[in-house]
């Protein structure tokens, strides 16, 4: 995982950051973008990979973020390659897969909000999709800013239980 390989490493870093935010039950305020309070939770699956030897494991559990084996695996140097994630904003929930390399969001389950006819349904889905696009961009930008903070490395290390 070197700089020569471009910025592909940001995918895994972003997934680790999402895992961290999910584990700490933090809500994020995106009011300045008109998106309100956002919460992130990891659903039932995470894929972790060793950077060097290509070892890869997928762990499935209803309580991924509190599972000691996941934290131990990360502590030993495995980084997230794929997550199933839920983003909540108000009454709306989006559930989808997010992969680190190539960085990709797939199988997005758009929120259902009680639309009555086909036209209403299409409009609601399109609005939900564009909102997700904005939320993900805002989350990624927040991550990019946070990773430049002096405490960022220390906080991640504390979270994973890695001593200096």
């Amino acid at each position: 995982m070197t700089k020569e390989s471009g910025i592909g490493y940001l995918g895994s870093e972003f997934l680790l950051w999402l895992f961290w935010k999910s584990a700490t039950d933090e809500t994020m305020s995106l009011h300045n973008l008109g998106l309100g309070e956002i919460s992130v939770s990891i659903e039932d699956s995470i894929t972790l990979a060793s950077v060097g030897d290509g070892y890869c494991e997928t762990i499935q559990s209803m309580k991924i973020t509190s599972l000691p084996s996941v934290r131990e695996s990360m502590k030993s140097g495995r980084v997230p390659q794929a997550l199933k994630i839920k983003i909540s904003s108000g009454e709306l929930d989006w559930i989808f897969q997010i992969k680190a390399q190539p960085f990709k969001i797939t199988s997005v389950k758009l929120p259902i909000s009680g639309e009555k006819n086909e036209a209403e349904m299409i409009s609601a889905r399109l609005i939900a999709m564009t909102k997700l696009e904005l939320i993900m961009k805002a989350l990624f930008n927040t991550f990019l800013l946070e990773r430049e903070m002096p405490d960022f490395i220390g906080d991640i290390k504390d979270f994973l239980g890695i001593s200096d």
């Binding site: 910025i7 940001l10 140097g77 758009l110 349904m121 999709m129 696009e133 993900m136 990624f140 290390k157």
Partner: protein, 199 residues
């Protein structure tokens, strides 16, 4: 409109250099590359073009084009495709009959090719092409285009037909674009090496 109505989607986002001046202009552009149905006697084995997103057999009216601030339409691709295993019994049978009727021991390569083409034509008249419908939503507010597919082949076909129809070039949008907007990747270092040491 299967994918959006089901509410389960994967999509690729594009930013165009501009948007059409009006819905009439968009309709004209779509009509210019509208889907043309394949005929079994047609020499073409595939056809691709625009259809209405809700009525995917309609490539003339595009009556469901406008949804709020979105232009919604679909790319339809029809393709006749037969695998070697599918063709084999029919080709062997046709060659057998040809040899018997013409009292031949061997069939020349050119003749074999013609027999194969005849078999394919016969199979085309007895089957439907494989159809793929991929919806597209173009947000006139943000300008962003959402293609409801992440298949490389579909993205390439869509980009080609879209740019020809609208005479507008498009670029794929990625979350990583923010890195450039926020100051570039040159000064960035991976944090993993600082967490776990050099890997």
């Amino acid at each position: 409109m299967t994918r959006l109505l089901k509410g389960n989607v994967s999509f690729t986002v594009f930013m165009p250099e501009k948007t059409p001046d009006s819905i009439e202009k968009a309709r004209e552009a779509l009509a210019g590359s509208a889907f043309q149905r394949l005929d079994p006697t047609d020499l073409r084995n595939e056809s691709a073009g625009w259809v209405d997103a809700v009525l995917c057999f309609d490539s003339e009216n595009f009556s469901s084009l406008l949804h709020d601030s979105f232009f919604v339409f679909a790319l339809r691709e029809d393709k006749y495709s037969f695998s070697a295993a599918q063709l084999r019994p029919y080709i062997e049978e046709a060659e057998f009959v040809f040899k018997r009727e013409n009292n031949l021991e061997y069939i020349a390569a050119q003749q074999k090719k013609e027999i194969k083409e005849q078999v394919i034509r016969r199979m085309k008249t007895n089957s439907y092409p494989k159809t793929t419908i991929t919806e597209v939503a173009w947000d006139m507010d943000s300008k962003l285009i959402y293609l409801f597919s992440q298949s490389g082949a579909t993205i390439a076909k869509f980009t080609d037909i879209f740019e020809k129809s609208f005479e507008i070039s498009i670029n794929q949008v990625n979350l990583f674009d923010s890195v450039k907007e926020l100051g570039g990747a040159d000064r960035m270092e991976p944090v993993f090496t600082k967490i776990w040491g050099e890997k």
